[in-house]
């Protein structure tokens, strides 16, 4: 076997597999791969209010994507329950840097010091979970896509808007990594 479900998958296995979701969705139903539009569909389904952006027939046209999203949650569950978890073997340099900044628990998928119910009411937990989540939702909606819709679907179809968006993703990510996180997680 090329990879075991118990090990971390090398990039050259994971990357092409992720890329294949683009043709799979096109071939199945002429659908464009993109996760973040589900945030919009969920708003439309749960609380459209009087906001025009959320008043459309999501049931008619977007059920497939919400079903896909439910699958993503299921897939996360199966990955951990069939494959187990282990410490993420990040580069020693990153580990050293993060310990210096205040992260000491490296045993989970995400640091428990930031991502746990207990951490939610601390400043660093709140910023990581609530503020970060909010910006993910606002930013992807404004940009009209996320890593899947712009970086993968969009770049694969040579869309200039997606290239601009991806530059934005990294500009924002680097800004937060160098100028926000060091002060928040410490």
């Amino acid at each position: 076997m090329l990879v075991s479900i118990h090990d971390e998958w090398p990039w050259y296995v994971a990357g092409p597999l992720i890329g294949l979701f683009v043709p799979a969705l096109l071939i199945l139903g002429n659908k464009v791969f993109g996760i973040s539009s589900n945030l919009r569909h969920l708003c439309a389904a749960i609380a459209p209010g009087r906001v025009e952006h959320f008043r459309y027939d999501w049931k008619q046209t977007e059920t497939w994507n919400l079903v896909f999203l439910a699958g993503v949650v299921l897939g996360g569950f199966l990955a951990v329950h069939l494959g187990g978890t282990h410490t993420i073997s990040i580069s020693p340099a990153t580990r050293a840097l993060l310990s210096q900044q205040g992260i000491h628990d490296f045993s989970g998928i995400a640091p428990r010091e930031l991502f746990s119910w207990h951490a939610l009411l601390t400043l660093r937990g709140f910023v990581s979970i609530v503020v970060g989540g909010f910006l993910v939702g606002f930013g992807t909606a404004y940009a009209g896509g996320c890593t899947s819709g712009h970086a993968i679907s969009g770049l694969a179809n040579f869309q200039l808007p997606s290239l601009i968006a991806v530059f934005g993703f990294f500009a924002g990510g680097l800004l937060a990594t160098y100028f926000i996180l060091p002060f928040v997680i410490g």
């Binding site: 998958w9 949650v73 998928i109 930013g139 890593t147 991806v166």
Partner: protein, 160 residues
């Protein structure tokens, strides 16, 4: 330009606006599960991996995203070349994104980038993590919904 279909066509994840026959829905559930599985096993869902990427201390995430794009681009080119029809009987076509002023992509993209570094998760991983046992990600996902809602509300006043 202002019909809801054309507005929708500008968003990602919106190709065909045809209703999906119910018998196809299990296939989408299965594909979604496969996606969540791959994201989790490849550790793309890990905050640690995202930090490693933004500190340029590993090739891993760049290799994953880069090879995903190359694979997807080759597949799309082949599908276009072959003029394939989808299983639901539609001619496969991918709508182009409207550039406009480009502001929405630069500004919206940067705002998402800040969130991506803070939560260590983009939208797919945010949901995969809920299944993978990082249950507090439900709050991050709810907050993302709030962010999307506020965008929808402010949309008429934002430059696009």
């Amino acid at each position: 330009m202002t019909t809801s279909a054309s507005i929708q066509a500008q968003e990602c994840g919106v190709g065909s606006v045809a209703t999906t026959p119910i018998r196809f829905l299990p296939a989408y559930l299965l594909l979604g599960a496969a996606f969540g599985f791959v994201l989790t096993r490849s550790e793309v869902v890990s905050w640690f991996r995202i930090q490693e990427m933004f500190h340029f201390q590993s090739f891993r995430m760049y290799g994953i995203i880069g090879s995903a794009v190359v694979t997807a681009a080759l597949s799309v080119a082949l599908i276009k070349l072959a003029g394939l029809t989808s299983a639901t009987g539609e001619k496969i076509s991918i709508p182009s994104k409207q550039l406009g002023s480009g502001i929405r992509y630069a500004v919206g993209g940067s705002i998402f980038g800040v969130g991506w570094a803070l939560t260590g998760a983009c939208p797919g991983p945010l949901f995969a993590l809920i299944g993978a046992g990082v249950s507090v990600s439900i709050i991050a996902a709810a907050s993302a919904l709030a962010g999307t809602w506020i965008y929808g509300w402010l949309r008429p006043h934002l430059p696009h």
